[in-house]
Amino acid sequence: MVLRFSFNYICSRKIRRYKIPVSMMLNNRLHKAFKPFFLLISLAFLTSGSLLASEHSDVSTTDSTEVEALHEAANPHHEEESEAFNAGDMIMHHVMDAYDIHLMDIGDHSVSIPLPVILYSVDDGLSIFLSSAFHHGHATKNRYVLDHGHIYRLGENNPHANETEHLVTTEALSLGYSEQSWGGLFAGEAGSFVDLSITKTVAGILITVVLMFLIFFRVAKSYKGGADKAPKGFQALMETLILFIRDEIAKPSIGHKYERFMPFLLTIFFFIWIANLLGLIPFIGGFNVTGNIAVTMVLALFTFVLTTVNGNKTYWGHIFATPGVPGWLLPLMIPIELLGVFTKPLVLCLRLFANITAGHIIILSFMSLIFIFADIYGAGAGYGASIVSLLFGVFMNVMELLVAFLQAYVFTLLSALYFGSAVEDHH
């Protein structure tokens, strides 16, 4: 049917005068149909390859226990390598924040992009250095120590305070440390510090912001040439999305005052969408921007502040004197409505956080099934499980693409609905 349709297409157009043989044209069209399948399958193999490479150190050490024992005697601080594969730890490591972008482990050596660590302490002031100075927890820097993803400050009299290699963090910490504390900083307590570092999540936010600037400055520039020109290419794509938000989300929900809220709705839609998509890209270190409850809480806080600031008399009237409610029921209705004012943004925050984190955890769990089977039943079972795991993993990744867009849409739609109820006219 494809062949017949394309033959008719070619005959009906004036393409015949170019004298390209019809068979060659038809082959090109069939080839193009296979491109998405090639990309999908190569993505599946590359994903598996990268994950197998990064977890290689855990799987190989379970085979040779003798080499393990010698290894342990020689390097007492490499205890984590001799344990079996721990799915919970691996998943938590990928989902939580970190001070470097960990790309992969090549054998013993981990390849990662260090990020700037910015610390301000009451005693020593500002310290800025790359997180590679911590040598993955085996060195101190300015009396700061990195242990299991958290930074602590060793006390002045701690004998390990200036060790620059082969530091055993648990030993050093048992002799006195202080944790990050804003209260301590403002109170001027000695030894307190605050952590203002550019962590992986912050780096993800900055990447999203840079991408948004690149996209929208480019689109805005193409409008400077005059509003009469028909949009083409990238500008057409962005215009479709922006008009979609204006006509399907803002106007129906907010009414005639929608223009005031359009910048916020557009920003939040594209930020959440691009941040979600950033978390799905493999090999670049696994960003988890919107899967961090602090980030989603701030986004929901923006919505809450905007609704509260823009609330008019009708809005507050609905909360404190709900129309149609008899007077004796009001003492019950007012606390419920007030609670609703706070739970609506909270639910926005939790919905986005839970959806994105759950998606990441499901994909990681499918991948760790491979290594769990390999641990229990041997390498052959691992390879066998990898076929099923990869299929499910790719399927979940594609589903997460839909979820990325959908969660951005739902967040924006609900924000628009809350704004609409805040600026509603009295009827």
Binding site: V347, R351, N355, A358, L406, V410
Partner: protein, 82 residues
């Protein structure tokens, strides 16, 4: 209550997490099943509104699934944070 004193708190927590996750999945399945069912019915009644109904169905499913995810995340945190 000797059985409970013999069981560690951790074991009870894992039991609670497992049952909670299962109930959350049941809730999501029931909710989204109802949404899908009524969406299909209304699409059959009025084929020219299929586009609108499909969009509304997906949005409603996302909201219901959000509720189910709260339960899943709580149970996951119980298991992974000990």
């Amino acid at each position: 209550m000797e059985i409970i004193s013999i069981l560690l708190d951790a074991a009870l927590a894992y039991l609670g997490a497992g049952i909670g996750a299962g109930i959350a999945a049941i809730g999501a399945g029931m909710g989204i099943g109802r949404i899908g069912g009524s969406a299909l019915e209304s699409m059959a009644r009025q084929p020219e509104a299929i586009g609108d109904i499909r969009a509304s169905m997906i949005v409603a499913a996302a909201l219901v699934e959000g509720a189910a995810f709260f339960g899943i995340i709580v149970c996951l945190l119980i298991v992974l944070m000990r």
